[in-house]
């Protein structure tokens, strides 16, 4: 029999690396297996890294982590074809320690993060695919890799293998995700001089901006577009649920081209040289699609567990916290030597007691409500734009008349009651 570990972690993304780091720090013997050439080489996200959850793992990580810019301003754009209504918050307290969140490039960040786990004592193996969990007497006892002599054993296997989680699926923890439970996001990293970025986004050198876009960015489909500023590049991307894309027969790349060429967006991205083109699925099924999280000798974390809050575009932070909680659970189980589902179940209860479970529960109906009621993005965003246009265009019409006109327009489609119902429904979905 080959070498045995305390923990085998499958996948060196935010969840897997957090788990490996924490477990190694607690003195456990950890094997971290990554399929990419190096951690980060295959990992994709829009680009926002949240401070709080990583800080709980590595205090004051920003002094050494390869971060791009601290985000000091969050902008929200409600786009129509040739106009937009915007709102934003900019706070210079976010430009100072301890910061709020950062932009990062995953290829750099994940590599660094995994190196930190290795420093703690985890053994990292790259370019190796885990093909299945080794199950003996109904208990997961290790993993089989695609390499010769590729079996390796552990007390607990942590699945951090990302959105598709073929391994959790093999174990029967979940079925194939439905098209409305995952979003397809495509993005490009565009090279721009930092001076140009500072001017276009009105920030200083060490300050970043995040822009979330609704409405015409996705042709009114359920989803968002985004721009995040790095040091000398920007991430621009767009994502919608897979089901919307299928229904509208949209090609992801066409959608990204539409975003980049939108008259409100184009001036920000103009002249950017494409460094990378990335596409990835994001689990957005939320609370109702969270799979079985724990089995005998196995724990599911991160995207594999559908831990994504689509409304607040949070995911990497939930991944990190879930990885950490998994490691703590295993360390506790190690004391008693009991790695059964019952013993590891405290992972599940802790997850549901944490912000992960609570936030997922809060928004459990949100995606469904917005998907079933396309009027929010398709009709109300253009109406908002028209209302602003009517109100602020100086054409000699008295303001009272303008207000009447706006209200008439707003209620024309669905009536006053319909409008009120829609607003209530939206509020209920996110309350």
């Amino acid at each position: 029999m080959s070498e045995k570990f305390d923990v085998i972690v499958v996948g060196a993304g935010p969840a897997g690396t957090s788990c490996a780091y924490t477990a190694a720090q607690k003195g456990l013997k950890v094997l971290l297996i990554e399929r990419g050439e190096y951690p980060g080489s295959k990992n994709v996200m829009g680009g926002i890294l949240y401070r709080k959850q990583l800080e709980e793992i590595i205090p004051e990580f920003w002094h050494e982590a390869p971060i791009e810019r601290p985000v000091v301003e969050q902008r929200f754009w409600f786009l129509d074809k040739e106009s937009m209504v915007t709102t934003s918050y900019k706070g210079l307290e976010w430009a100072k320690e301890p910061y709020n969140n950062f932009t990062v490039l995953r290829a750099k960040f994940d590599k660094w993060f995994a190196e930190k786990a290795v420093e703690q004592g985890a053994l990292l193996i790259n370019e190796t695919v885990v093909t299945e969990c080794i199950v003996e007497d109904g208990k997961v006892v290790g993993v089989r890799t695609d390499r010769p002599d590729g079996d390796v054993y552990a007390d607990v296997v942590v699945l951090a293998d990302g959105v598709n989680s073929l391994l959790a699926k093999q174990l029967g923890f979940h079925k194939e995700w439905k098209p409305n439970e995952v979003a397809l996001t495509v993005m490009e990293v565009l090279k721009l001089p930092s001076k140009t970025i500072n001017e276009r986004f009105n920030v200083q050198n060490n300050q970043g901006v995040s822009v979330e876009m609704f409405g015409d960015a996705t042709h009114g489909l359920l989803g968002t577009g985004f721009i995040y500023t790095n040091k000398d590049s920007i991430n621009v991307g767009v994502g919608t649920t897979l089901s919307s894309m299928i229904k509208k027969k949209l090609k992801p790349y066409d959608l990204l081209e539409h975003v980049k060429n939108h008259p409100m967006i184009q001036p920000y991205v103009e002249g950017g040289e494409t460094l990378e083109y990335l596409a990835h699925l994001i689990p957005e099924g939320g609370y109702n699609t969270v799979p079985k999280l724990v089995g005998d000798g196995v724990i599911v974390t991160g995207d594999a567990a559908q831990f994504v809050n689509a409304i607040h575009r949070e995911g990497s932070n939930m991944a990190m916290s879930s990885g950490k909680i998994a490691a703590e659970t295993i360390a506790k189980a190690k004391e008693t030597g009991d790695f059964s589902e019952r013993s590891l179940d405290s992972y599940r209860t802790e997850i549901y007691d944490s912000f992960i479970g609570k936030d997922l529960k809060k928004y459990k109906d949100a995606a469904h409500t917005f998907e079933e009621n396309p009027q929010y993005f398709q009709e109300y965003v253009p109406l908002m734009n028209q209302a602003m246009n009517t109100f602020f265009t100086v054409d000699g019409t008295p303001k009272w008349d303008k207000q009447k006109k706006i209200i008439a327009k707003m209620t024309a489609g669905r009536g006053k009651i319909g409008l009120a119902k829609d607003m209530y429904k939206a509020w209920k979905a996110v309350k």
Binding site: L123, I125, D146, R147, P148
Partner: protein, 276 residues
């Protein structure tokens, strides 16, 4: 049969950019990899060890991060790895490099015999192919370059038969051992490393030597000082012109491609043919 493999960490030239002003390689623009020919050399060493036993030692000269290239060799199956790393080695051309590696080999030979030295045919960053023969000359053993197959090894008689690639065919040649071979890609397929090798490599720390660890080193023959090579001028190769991008919808592109192919049919040795 103990085998020494000399390896180099190189920038991945498939990705690397050339600085348009100085015409030098922008090394920061590409990740570093194990020189691909060297991987074939290590693989061949693993194959020979299976048949003839012995130990595989990997040797490299380079900065501290060249450890990663040595770990890659451990993944393939090497037993030990040595890195000679010192600022005094820096700026070396092939003459100074072969001298430094030779000095390290002398030191290694104090511990155990070396019956065979393998090198990649050349490093993909410099393409000179001189370091291997340079080492052989200093060691006083025969260098056989561009080897594509080891046909026979007779350890009792200390003989080896190999197949070399030459311009108009192959050459079957017998040599005495020890000798030095430089390896072509045709030699073998680098196999997918077994998991135990991967785990050993991930934990492996190569033995690092500085100039001071080597014996009787003539400092004047090291690094930039020991390198008579002068770069006179650098220029990028002329870009070939005449290529035409076919653009448009898929249908337009296919139609354009068909009509161009038809117009230029004599290029493919096709005569006549009426457009239907």
């Amino acid at each position: 049969m103990n085998i020494l493999v000399c390896i180099k960490q190189v920038p991945d030239t498939k990705i690397i950019k050339v600085n348009p002003k100085t015409n030098t390689l922008d090394r920061s623009s590409a990740p570093t990899i194990l020189n691909p020919y060297d991987a074939h050399a290590v693989e061949e060493a693993v194959r020979l060890r299976k048949e003839h036993g012995g130990k595989i030692i990997v040797l490299s000269m380079g900065p501290p991060q060249a450890r990663l290239a040595i770990r890659k060799c451990i993944e393939i199956g090497a037993d030990e790895g040595y890195l000679i790393s010192d600022r005094r080695f820096a700026g070396a051309d092939t003459l100074a490099t072969s001298y430094a590696l030779f000095k390290a080999i002398e030191k290694l030979k104090e511990e155990e015999g070396i019956e065979l030295v393998l090198c990649g045919k050349h490093a993909i960053d410099g393409d000179t192919g001189q370091t291997g023969p340079g080492i052989a000359r200093r060691m006083g053993i025969p260098p056989l370059t561009n080897v594509i197959k080891v046909e026979e090894v007779d350890l009792d008689k200390k003989l080896m038969k190999v197949r070399r690639k030459i311009e108009n065919g192959y050459e079957l040649i017998q040599t005495s051992l020890p000798c030095l071979l430089t390896i072509e890609k045709e030699m073998n397929e680098v196999s997918y490393s077994p998991l135990p090798n991967m785990m050993r490599a991930a934990r492996y720390e190569p033995i690092v030597w500085t100039v001071d660890d080597l014996n009787d080193v003539d400092i004047k023959q090291l690094g930039l000082k020991g390198s008579p090579t002068i770069v006179g001028k650098m220029w990028p190769p002329e870009k070939s012109s005449g290529a035409e991008m076919i653009e448009g919808s898929t249908k337009e592109q296919v139609e354009k491609l068909l009509s161009v192919t038809y117009e230029k049919r004599e290029l493919f040795g096709v005569k006549g043919g009426e457009k239907s």
